[in-house]
C-alpha cells in the first residue's frame, strides 16, 4: 500500500474512533449537533433582514450570501471534525504535551491534528450540505460543493497550524492564534467585494479567508480550471508550509515532563 493510501486509512480510522467516542454520550452529541445547525440558521437572520431592503450587496444576491455561509460552515465542519486538535495545538506545545505523539510510529503533524473531533462541528457540516441542497436541489453541484469544502478545510487547517506553531518559536501564541481564527471566520462570512482592495489582498494572503468561502462560491457559480488550479495549489502549498513550520518548531520543543493517564 502506498504511503498516501496508508495515511488516508489512518485518518479515516481515527475519524471513526473519534466519532464513536463522541457518540458515547449520544444525547449530548445530538444536542450539540442540532444546536450548531440552529446557530448557523440564526446567523442568516441578519442577511434576511438586509435583503428585505436591498436587492443586492456589492453584486451579491441573497442566494449567493447563503451559499457563502453554506461553504464556510461546511468547511469549518469538515476541518474541525477531522482535525479537531488543531484548535488547541498552541496550548499542547506550551504545556509540553506533545510527548505522547512523539513516541508513536506515526507522522507527528498528522497524528496530533486528527486525534480529536469536535462533536458540534458536525452540525456545521450538516448545515452546509443542507443549505447547498436547498439552493441547488439534488444536483452534481452539491457534490462539487463538498469537494470544495474538503479542499478549503485543508487550507484552513494549514493556516491555523502555522499560526499555532508560532508557540514553538515565541512562547505562548494562543492569543495570536485566537485572533487569527476569529479573523478567518469573520471575513469568510462576508462578500469579499464589500472590502477595499488592500483588505482583499490581505484575504488572499496573510488571512486566506477568500479561499474558505469566496473562491469556492465563485467556482460553483462559474467553474474555471484556472481558479480551481489556484485553489488546489494553495491547499497543497499550505500543507507543505504547515508541515515545514511545524517540524522546524518541533526541533525546539521542550517536554513538559507531564505524567498523566490518557483515557
Amino acid at each position: 500500500m502506498s504511503t498516501a493510501a496508508k495515511q488516508l486509512r489512518f485518518v479515516v480510522e481515527q475519524l471513526r474512533v473519534n466519532i464513536l467516542s463522541n457518540m458515547e454520550y449520544r444525547i449530548s452529541f445530538l444536542v450539540q449537533m442540532v444546536f450548531m445547525v440552529l446557530n448557523d440558521v440564526m446567523l442568516l437572520f441578519f442577511w434576511w433582514v438586509i435583503f428585505q431592503r436591498f436587492d443586492n450587496i456589492a453584486g451579491w444576491g441573497q442566494k449567493d450570501i447563503f451559499l457563502l455561509y453554506a461553504l464556510s460552515a461546511g468547511t469549518y465542519g469538515i476541518a474541525y471534525t477531522i482535525f479537531g486538535n488543531a484548535l488547541r495545538l498552541s496550548s499542547l506545545i506550551v504545556e509540553g504535551q506533545l510527548d505522547y505523539y512523539l513516541a508513536l510510529p506515526k507522522d507527528v503533524w498528522l497524528n496530533v491534528l486528527i486525534s480529536k473531533s469536535l462533536a458540534s462541528t458536525i452540525g456545521d457540516f450538516v448545515f452546509g450540505v443542507g443549505m447547498c441542497l436547498a439552493i441547488f436541489g439534488f444536483s452534481y453541484k452539491v457534490l462539487l460543493a463538498i469537494v470544495f469544502m474538503m479542499v478549503a478545510s485543508l487550507i484552513l487547517i494549514s493556516a491555523a497550524t502555522i499560526v499555532h506553531s508560532l508557540s514553538f518559536f515565541m512562547g505562548n501564541a494562543e492569543q495570536i492564534a485566537a485572533v487569527f481564527s476569529e479573523s478567518m471566520l469573520s471575513f469568510s462570512l462576508y462578500p469579499i467585494s464589500v472590502f477595499s482592495l488592500s483588505v482583499r489582498a490581505l484575504l488572499y494572503t496573510a488571512i486566506p479567508a477568500a479561499f474558505i468561502s469566496f473562491v469556492p462560491v465563485s467556482l460553483l457559480q462559474e467553474f474555471s480550471f484556472g481558479l480551481f488550479s489556484l485553489f488546489l495549489g494553495v491547499a497543497v502549498f499550505g500543507i507543505w508550509l504547515s508541515r515545514r513550520v511545524f517540524y522546524a518548531g518541533l526541533k525546539r520543543y521542550e517536554s513538559g515532563n507531564l505524567v498523566a493517564p490518557r483515557m
Binding site: F35, M42, F46, Q52, R53, I57, Q175, V179, S193, F195
Partner: protein, 268 residues
C-alpha cells in the same frame, strides 16, 4: 424593607466594588476582546459603506450612525457579565445554602456582583469602541449633555439583562442543565434585541413583535438614544424599562422563593 436601607445599599455597593476591582485585575484578555471589537466594527463599516452612499441613509440612520449604533449594542453585549454558570453551579451544588445563612439576599448578592463586573467591562468597551468608531467613521453629532440620561437607560438595560439571566439560571432548581436556555436567549437578543441593525430596518410585522418584548430595551433602545437622542423617546423608554424591571423582579423573587424550598443540604 431590608434591601432599601442605607446599610443594605452600603453592603451591596461594597460587593459591586469588589467585583469591579477583580474584573480589571486581568488585563490580558482585554487584547483579544479589543481586537474582536475592532474587527466587527471594521467589517460593518465596510459593509454599510458598500450598501449606503456617503450621504444616503436607511430608516433614518446614516452609515456613521449605524457604526456608532453597533458600537453601543456590542459594548452592552460584550460587557454583560457571565454570571449564569456560577449561579447554576451554586444552585446545583447546594452552595446556595451557604449564601442563605449570610445576611444577604441571594438575588441582590448576585445583582451586585453582576453590576460590578459589567460596569468595569462597559467603561473599557465604550472607551475602546468609541476610539475605534471615531477612527473608522468620525464622531457623530452626539449631545454630550444627554449622556447622563443615556447612562440611566443603560443601567436599566443591564438590570433587565440581569433579571432575565438570573431567572433562567434559577431554573436550575428544576432542570439539570440551563445551558440551552442561555443559548436561546443569546439568539433572541441577537435577533429581537437588534444587535447588528436597528429594528426600524426590520419588516413592519417583525418590528411590532419586537417592540412588544423586553429584549429591544436591552440593546436597541439604549443604542438608538445614544446615536439619536430624543427626550420624548427617552421618557417612554424609561417608563417601559421600569415596568419590565418591576414585572421581572417579581417573577425572579417568586421563582427564587419556590426554588429555595427544594434545597436540601446533606452535611458539609
Amino acid at each position: 424593607m431590608d434591601i432599601v436601607s442605607t446599610k443594605a445599599v452600603r453592603k451591596y455597593s461594597f460587593l459591586a466594588k469588589t467585583s469591579f476591582a477583580s474584573k480589571i485585575a486581568y488585563p490580558l484578555d482585554v487584547i483579544s476582546r479589543t481586537f474582536f471589537f475592532a474587527l466587527v466594527l471594521f467589517i460593518f463599516t465596510q459593509l454599510w459603506g458598500a450598501l449606503l452612499g456617503a450621504d444616503s441613509s436607511i430608516a433614518g440612520f446614516s452609515r456613521q450612525q449605524l457604526v456608532w449604533y453597533l458600537m453601543a449594542t456590542e459594548s452592552i453585549m460584550l460587557s454583560n457579565a457571565r454570571i449564569e454558570r456560577r449561579i447554576e453551579d451554586d444552585v446545583k451544588s447546594g452552595a446556595v445554602a451557604y449564601i442563605l445563612i449570610r445576611p444577604l439576599h441571594f438575588v441582590w448578592y448576585q445583582c451586585a456582583i453582576y453590576f460590578g463586573e459589567s460596569a468595569s467591562s462597559l467603561i473599557f468597551n465604550i472607551l475602546i469602541g468609541s476610539i475605534i468608531a471615531t477612527l473608522l467613521v468620525g464622531v457623530p453629532p452626539i449631545s454630550v449633555g444627554f449622556l447622563p440620561l443615556i447612562l440611566v437607560v443603560m443601567t436599566l438595560a443591564f438590570l433587565l439583562q440581569f433579571l432575565i439571566k438570573i431567572f433562567l439560571a434559577l431554573l436550575a432548581f428544576w432542570v439539570e442543565d440551563t445551558g440551552p436556555f442561555f443559548w436561546i436567549y443569546s439568539k433572541v437578543l441577537f435577533t429581537l434585541g437588534g444587535l447588528f441593525v436597528p429594528i426600524d430596518i426590520y419588516p413592519e410585522w417583525l418590528r411590532r413583535v419586537t417592540v412588544a418584548m423586553p429584549f429591544n430595551y436591552i440593546l436597541y433602545q439604549p443604542a438608538r438614544l445614544f446615536v439619536n437622542f430624543n427626550l420624548a423617546a427617552f421618557v417612554q423608554v424609561l417608563g417601559i424599562q421600569a415596568m419590565w424591571s418591576v414585572l421581572l423582579t417579581a417573577l425572579v423573587l417568586y421563582i427564587y422563593k419556590q426554588g429555595v424550598k427544594k434545597v436540601s443540604v446533606n452535611g458539609g
